[in-house]
Amino acid sequence: MSDVILKVENLDVHFRSSASIVKAVNGVNITLKKKETLGIVGESGSGKSVTATALMRLLPKGIGSIPNGKITFNGKDILSLSDKEMRDVRGNEIAMIFQDPMTSLNPVFTVGDQIEEAVRTHQQMSKKEAKKKAIEMLKVVGIPEPEKRVKMYPHEFSGGMRQRVMIAIALSCNPKLLIADEPTTALDVTVQAQILELMKSLQEKNDTSIIMITHDLGVVWEMCDKVIVMYAGNTVESGTVETIYENPLHPYTWGLLESQITKNTLNGDKLPAIPGSPPDLRNPIPGCNFADRCPYAKEICSTTKPQPIEVELGHIVSCHFQTNSNRLERKERVYIE
Amino acid sequence: MTSTQPSSMETREVKKKEINERSFIRKLLKNRIAAFGLFVTIFMTIIAIFAPLIATHAPNEMDITHSLLGAGVDGHFLGTDNYGRDLFSRIVYGARISLIVGVSAVLFGAVFGTFLGLIAGYFGGKLDSLIMRTMDGLFAFPFILLAITLMTVLGQGLVNVIIAIGVANIPGFARIVRGQVLSVKEEEFIEVTRSLGATHGRILFQHVLPNCLAPLIVYGTMSIAGAIISEAALSFLGLGVQPPTASWGSILKDGKDFLVLNPQMATFSGLAILITVLGINLFGDGLRDALDPKMKV
């Protein structure tokens, strides 16, 4: 029990827009142990990035709020920390890397400055020591000639190299948890593999836990121990990677798998989408959020919300037809022609 | 096949434009501040046009025995100036000079500047560097200083004021249009028109120029505000329209010498400038947001 590093219980996130409230995340639960990697998958708009942002308490001020839920990280109640205490957690105990390394590094500071800044924010360190640390971090993330590179600006780096720099910044304070928001989406396929490899080896070395946010199931199979599938702000299915890989149960997960297979056979860059679009989160619907797009939907799906059910140990599904007594027959190629 | 291509492209263009226009008007109306600016501008234009009906006295009618009266005395709404002329009527008539100079000088600058910018951007090469070097040279002069210099040579007078401020406006328009031409020039539809054998003139005026319109309108509107201030500044320095013609700047110039005896002269002439310029700027801001959000003037 003591090696649980992060526990999220019934997390809700709301966004206030001009006239309405968008319920972006509803009742998400996460349990993450030391050294474990959790994948959160879903389409854009499913609430996966919002969940991550909420963990860091970096939701846009005055717009995003957390009306319900509890986040316990390393024994601390994140939501009750003061702003200053939260700043001490950010970048120090929880670090984050983002999707687009082209835009997530500040273009007007050298990469060395940006790493040093991260270190010096959380540790008493002289400028000289910080510089040494920056060079060391560049070496750790596999950037050649770090002494020279440390003085360069982000625009002098390739995309993959920039993501390595982002990882160097994120890991410079030895965080207990690393949140990676689509860290490889903007990169070339070959570079993707290298970055994932790097993250894995650093995780081994530092006992870091990782939350990997992605829409790419391939990344999940490769990196994660557990996975949460999110759709329109809800967790539709969660379990260990093995269970979800071998025995996926939610029709939405099937859709994701199918589009992944289609992508692989087509050798395309983009994931072919499941037809239709998620519901408008400003107007909550009475039934299952996925009902409109679900080829298996029946009447009950649009009238009643399915409750999460633990169908086998640690494998939770929210679907009316996937219960302990009842199973749906999975059909081939029903989503994408 | 090739013959149908341009026409289908044209319909697409037209459709796009229609949608743009509708959203443009919606955006403009939605922006209440811009609507307020437009209202002020129209209000001032009406005052200028109907000046004879609004003014209570003839603007140049002197009456030394009733000079420097306070506001409201003897039927003089804002009092009288040092020559006993009715201040309110002079300010009402001053709107004419401001708007005439503002609009004409900007048109002057826009016509010449657009022409120079078009040919510089379109033909490029030596012609481009010759024109743009000259424009850079003109830009090196502070706007008002260029106008002052021109006025010292041209001498006072309404037409000369228009020319002086107009010339000072040329480089700004030339730069904007040239920039637009450079970006439009490389677009596909220009290539197509050229390959179909259109003349330079036709390409320039039918295809390139319309694409420069949005920034031109925004910049032009803002420039009118600037031109009105410049006219007032020239008149304030005694370089504007010939006395006794009423101009806000010249009233302010006289008012400056009678600050203690009659502060209304300086106060209200300047307020008239401020309100007009503010109105035009508010409208221009709204126009920019609606037409050309990327532009920063």
Binding site: T121 | P263, A266
Partner: protein, 322 residues
């Protein structure tokens, strides 16, 4: 860096040459006889002819032009007829005064305008934001010669806090010196201040939504550093562009401000020269101001390079980073 500055300086020579040509053309080619203008409507034909001879206006144009350029290269801006002094020495007497005024105005404008824009952007749509926006809109629309007169009316005539005209000397004491400087520099600062506030706000708003700001927050930085360091340095480029344009506005505005406050600077010199129809002085001073402006813009180009590492040192041919 030294090489870059040198190269840019050489680049500027043609522009300065063009500026000189423009001044020449304006004063020689435009309809109207400068000699007649200088002497006024009552002058006799003989007087005008004589002045034309003195000014070299009866020479062929190209001779006049070569003479003029030759003089300029030697730093000879001509000799004033009314002051009986070389124009350059008239300018040099007054240039420091204009510099003091323009510099104080610029400092006020930057110190108030930029923080106002930053606060406005970081609290978008707040009461504070709207206040800054409204004041800055009025600021860019205000005729500064009116503002100057109004400041005199309230703070000199009515309240008597500050002198209405003139420039104090250090001999009269620092306080007197500053007191003379307050109203003119506020007058001159208004437009640049409002412009800086507006451009800073819009430029900051654009930057604040960038990913690297999220990165900075995720590092655990204080909001003050996120905004003041990470966002602001990125927002600087458009602010610098505006700074270049505002120097022009400051020099132009100085003409009006110095007139209102009888400030003994170059602007006042021009206006006096216009009154006295001394067009040699007008021409020389205007040319001098234009050259100053061109040089200031060189300085700003250099600042660009410092602020923004992505700008190439060797612009033009074969630029390849560093």
């Amino acid at each position: 860096m030294g090489k870059y500055i040198l190269k840019r300086l050489v680049d500027l020579l043609p522009t300065i040459f063009v500026v000189a040509i423009i001044v020449f053309v304006i004063t020689r080619l435009i309809p109207g006889d400068p000699a007649a203008v200088m002497l006024g409507p009552q002058a006799s034909v003989e007087d005008i002819q004589e002045l034309r001879d003195d000014l070299g206006l009866n020479e062929p144009l190209h001779t006049q032009f070569l003479q003029y350029i030759g003089d300029l290269v030697q730093g000879d801006f001509g000799v004033s007829l009314t002051y009986n002094q070389p124009v350059i020495s008239l300018i040099m007497d007054r240039f420091p005064n204009t510099l003091v005024l323009a510099f104080s105005a610029l400092v006020i404008a930057l110190l108030i305008g930029i923080p106002a824009g930053i606060i406005s952007a970081s609290k978008q749509n707040s009461v504070m934001d709207y206040t800054v926006m409204v004041i800055s809109l009025i600021g860019v629309s205000i005729p500064i010669f009116w503002l100057g007169v109004m400041l005199v009316l309230y703070f000199s005539v009515n309240l008597g806090w500050f002198p209405a005209t003139g420039m104090g000397t250090m001999d009269e004491g620092f306080i007197t010196y500053i007191k003379h400087l307050v109203l003119p520099s506020i007058t001159l600062a208004t437009i640049p201040m409002a412009t800086f506030a507006r451009i800073t706000r819009s430029s900051m708003l654009e930057v604040i939504s960038q990913d690297y700001i999220k990165t900075a927050r995720a590092k655990g930085l204080k909001e003050f550093f996120v905004i003041g360091k990470h966002a602001f340095k990125n927002a600087l480029t458009p602010i610098l562009t505006v700074l270049g344009m505002q120097v022009s506005a400051l020099l132009g505005g100085a003409v009006l401000t110095e007139t209102i406050f009888s400030w003994p600077g170059m602007g006042r010199l021009i206006v006096d020269a216009i009154d006295k129809r001394d067009f040699v002085v007008v021409q020389g001073t205007v040319l001098f101001i234009a050259i100053i402006f061109v040089l200031v813009n060189l300085l700003i180009d250099v600042l660009y390079k410092i602020v923004n590492p992505r700008v190439n040192y060797s612009s033009g041919k074969g630029g390849e980073g560093k």
